[in-house]
């Protein structure tokens, strides 16, 4: 009886496989002048020059959850001065238990967000941030 139960456990582990997510492209808000308006990059559902995209892989025909950050800030390359705030981070499929790996065990995940308006006297140059996307069964 005991050995029979253990056999079931081992079989379950092998069938599950490894969940993984890899980045394909970064989230790129492009170019804006000082005093420019806020900008929203939509997730879309397909790769664009602006949205961030990822490939999620794992066992075939399996649902998974997507977890996104609430907000983050982009800092100037010099590491000094004011930052640019980013929030309204949304994905396609949507955050939550909306991911589903296809019969090949794959799904593309797209992420967009909104960055605030640019202040008139904000230091010019290149701003960046690093954010994390998590997937979980």
């Amino acid at each position: 009886m005991r050995w029979f139960v253990l056999l079931i456990l081992l079989t379950s582990f092998k069938a599950y496989g490894q969940l993984a997510v890899t980045k394909i492209s970064d989230l790129d808000f492009g170019v804006v002048p000082q005093d420019g308006p806020a900008k929203t990059v939509p997730p879309n559902g397909f790769e664009t020059a602006e949205n961030a995209s990822f490939l999620v892989t794992g066992p075939a025909n399996t649902a998974y959850s997507i977890i996104l950050p609430r907000r983050f800030t982009m800092d100037h390359s010099s590491g000094t001065g004011k930052s640019i705030k980013v929030d309204n981070i949304i994905s396609f499929p949507a955050e939550g238990n909306n991911g589903f790996l296809n019969p090949s065990g794959e799904q593309y995940l797209y992420v967009g967000a909104t960055r605030e308006a640019i202040q008139k006297n904000l230091t010019t140059g290149f701003y960046s941030a690093t954010f994390t996307v998590e997937v979980v069964f």
Binding site: M1, R2, V5, L6, I8, L9, S12, F13, Y16, Q18, L19, A20, V21, T22, K23, S25, D26, L27, D28, F29, G30, V31, V32, P33, Q34, D35, G36, A52, F54, G58, F72, M74, I84, V86, V111, A113, R115, I118, K120, L122, T123, T124, G125, F126, Y127, S128, A129, T130, F131, T132, V133, E134, V135, V136, F137
Partner: protein, 161 residues
């Protein structure tokens, strides 16, 4: 005895299921990027001046030219170094110089605005983030009964990255 073993197996199965759930997570990072350019500004340096003419005179064209002269309008455009920008000039039929009340024989139309660099995506700020912009246009022929006086109009030149 059998009941104890069955319970132990069930607990082990449940515990393993929970552990397997917690270990099935993965994450990766990505970057968010933004380039901020210096704000684009345009400042007027000189007006468009058609000079002096008499009633009945033919139409006159002031060329934009490649340098400041007494007739062309000139502007200084400034912003991010080595960056292109787009120039928009007034359309035809929009700018009218007037004198007095602007009634009959008191108006002169100004059309065919042209610039150096040319209108459109032809502006290019230099290494110090500047470029001179020169504007010319054509004023209508003057009527035989054109009222004497100083005629003026205001027009807008627009620049954008």
């Amino acid at each position: 005895m059998l009941k104890k073993r069955y319970m132990a197996a069930t607990i082990a199965l449940a515990a393993s299921y929970l552990i397997s759930q917690n270990s099935f997570a993965a994450s990766t990072t990505a970057q968010a990027l933004q380039q901020v350019l210096a704000a684009l500004t345009i400042t007027q340096v000189s007006d468009l001046d058609f000079g002096t003419a008499a009633a009945g005179d033919a139409a006159k064209t002031v060329a934009p030219g490649a340098a400041e002269d007494a007739e062309n309008a000139s502007f200084l455009v400034a912003g991010e170094a080595n960056t292109a920008y787009t120039i928009t000039l007034p359309a035809d039929g929009v700018v009218t110089m007037t004198t007095g009340g602007g009634g009959a024989n008191e108006t002169i139309g100004v059309n065919t605005f042209a610039s150096t660099p040319a209108a459109g995506a032809n502006g290019l700020l230099d290494g110090s983030g500047q470029q001179d912009l020169f504007v010319g246009a054509t004023r209508d022929a003057l009527g035989a009964s054109q009222v004497a006086g100083s005629y003026t109009a205001t027009f807008t030149v627009d620049v954008v990255y």
